[in-house]
Amino acid sequence: MNFLLAVLIQTWRNLVQTWSSQLLTLLTVTLSVLIFSFFYLLYTNVLYAGHQLDDDLRLIVYLEEDPTPEMQEQYRERILKFDQVERIEFLSSREAFDRFAAQLEENRDILVDMPEDFLPPSMEVYPVQSLNTLAKIKRFSDYLQTLPGVLKVQYGREWVERFYLFVKLLRVIVVLSGTLLILTTTFMVANTIHLTLLGRKEELEILLLVGASKKYIRLPFFLEGALQGFVGSLAGIASLYTLYTWIKLRFAVSSILAMFEFTFFPMPVILTIIAFSTLLCGSGSFSSTRKFLQL
């Protein structure tokens, strides 16, 4: 029998002997991973939805008068000096009138008596994707307001503010729940191992007396913890996927959710969560053994 086989046999024995407490810890790990990954999935999808909205985000700058081509060039230069933008479109009063009329469709008759230049000319600034924080958008809007001949800048401020507040809240929840759940999981695993150690104090004492090496005693505990982390995170992710599929089938077709394309974690993220959980639980139990055995 080689070392690895001996350790694996010992690990299997430990698992069989303490299956009830192992099951409880496994459940804790599964729930912890499920809760954390649920919020994380929500966060990543909201961020993704935010990116989708960013594509449509534009700042409408109303001007006092139709800018000449030279003025347009000056505006373009000054805007680009502040930040990169995807594109800038100028809209004369006449073009604004035509667009408005087109939008009114069969009700366009109400514009019959209106002068064609009653709408102010404007320029529409489409920020680049990096403009995804509220502060940045605000700064950009404030800057545009300082340009000469600008009447007003509009970008759906209230909506954008609410959206980014929501993203910010989600980020806090993800970080907090992540931290709390990491602490809970590590504590639970370490505690289970500690209880196992207490229950097997006599056996460990005999093992030391018959010459068992440190590795022989400690590795099975590490493997136990790592296994709990691995199986628990796998079960957690699988539960989340089941939940995700159910929500998508049940709600996504007929509700607001249909507006956005909801996605599950890509494989690298799944593997990272599983690897992290495995390592966390393994090292938690390993350190618990170290303290207990004072090896």
Partner: protein, 251 residues
């Protein structure tokens, strides 16, 4: 692992060993002893004479208050944890209190000593069956040790001590719970191991097992050797070797 002890033919050297338990119980006082490889020694004396303490010191379950202990050429006062575990795999210890796991089977208890040496499963099974047969416990292979009598438990503890083919066997009152027939069985087994080269130190106050023996009988009284003490030649040499040895720290 081949140390000084191997070169001189000694497996154990004790030089002026003392062990004092708190508050001031002197279990051993200035004990010096040298044991050659392949020797069989009976350690006798009344209860509390220091027999068990001496065996516990030899397996480094405890540290001496002062003096030097050398086992298989290794100074136990300076041994690293890893090396100690290696050494323990070469020592078979039949404990007075058996140290068996009650919820495990006889076979599992015996296998523990071999598993830590990564012995193959087939060899473990074979050795276990053989030892149980020799100790009259063939039918107890799968029995939980909690279901055994004291005498049977004692034999299981002996089987575990012998299972790893140890170079040094320490047996603390190995026949304390046995009748004369099983005592004979156990002693025959010990003799066989001794003939194959193992060194045995048997702590006992059962006079019947050493009466008329040709082996050395050492008597301990109040923590001192009063009869059959050190092998003078080797001890004299070894004392000079350890003249500069660091004394162990007090417990």
């Amino acid at each position: 692992m081949n140390g000084h002890g191997d070169e001189t033919g000694c497996i154990i050297d004790l030089v002026k060993i003392s062990k004092t338990y708190l508050p001031d119980i002197k279990a051993l006082q200035d004990v010096s002893l040298s044991v050659r490889k392949g020797e069989m020694i009976f350690l006798t004396g009344k209860s509390g004479a220091g027999k068990s303490t001496l065996l516990r010191l030899l397996s480094r379950m405890e540290k001496p208050t002062k003096g030097v202990i050398d086992v298989a050429g290794i100074d136990l006062n300076r041994i690293s944890p890893a090396r100690l575990q290696q050494l323990r795999r070469r020592i078979g210890f039949a404990f007075q209190d058996f140290k068996l796991l009650p919820d495990r089977s006889v076979a599992q208890n015996i296998a523990m000593a071999m598993e830590v040496s990564y012995t193959r499963a087939a060899v473990i099974r074979m050795r276990t069956r053989k030892l149980l047969q020799r100790l009259g416990l063939s039918d107890k292979y799968h029995t939980r040790t909690s279901e055994l009598s004291r005498g049977e438990q004692q034999r299981v503890a002996i089987a575990r001590a012998l299972s790893n083919e140890p170079e040094l066997i320490l047996a603390d009152e190995p026949t304390g719970n046995l009748d004369s027939e099983t005592t004979g069985m156990v002693m025959d087994l010990f003799r066989k191991y001794n003939e194959r080269g193992a060194t045995l130190i048997i702590a006992t106050h059962d006079e019947s097992i050493y009466r008329g023996t040709s082996h050395r009988v050492i008597e301990l009284r109040e923590g001192r050797i009063v009869d059959g003490g050190p092998e003078p030649d080797s001890l004299r040499d070894r004392s000079s070797v350890h003249a500069n040895a660091t004394p162990p720290s007090a417990p």
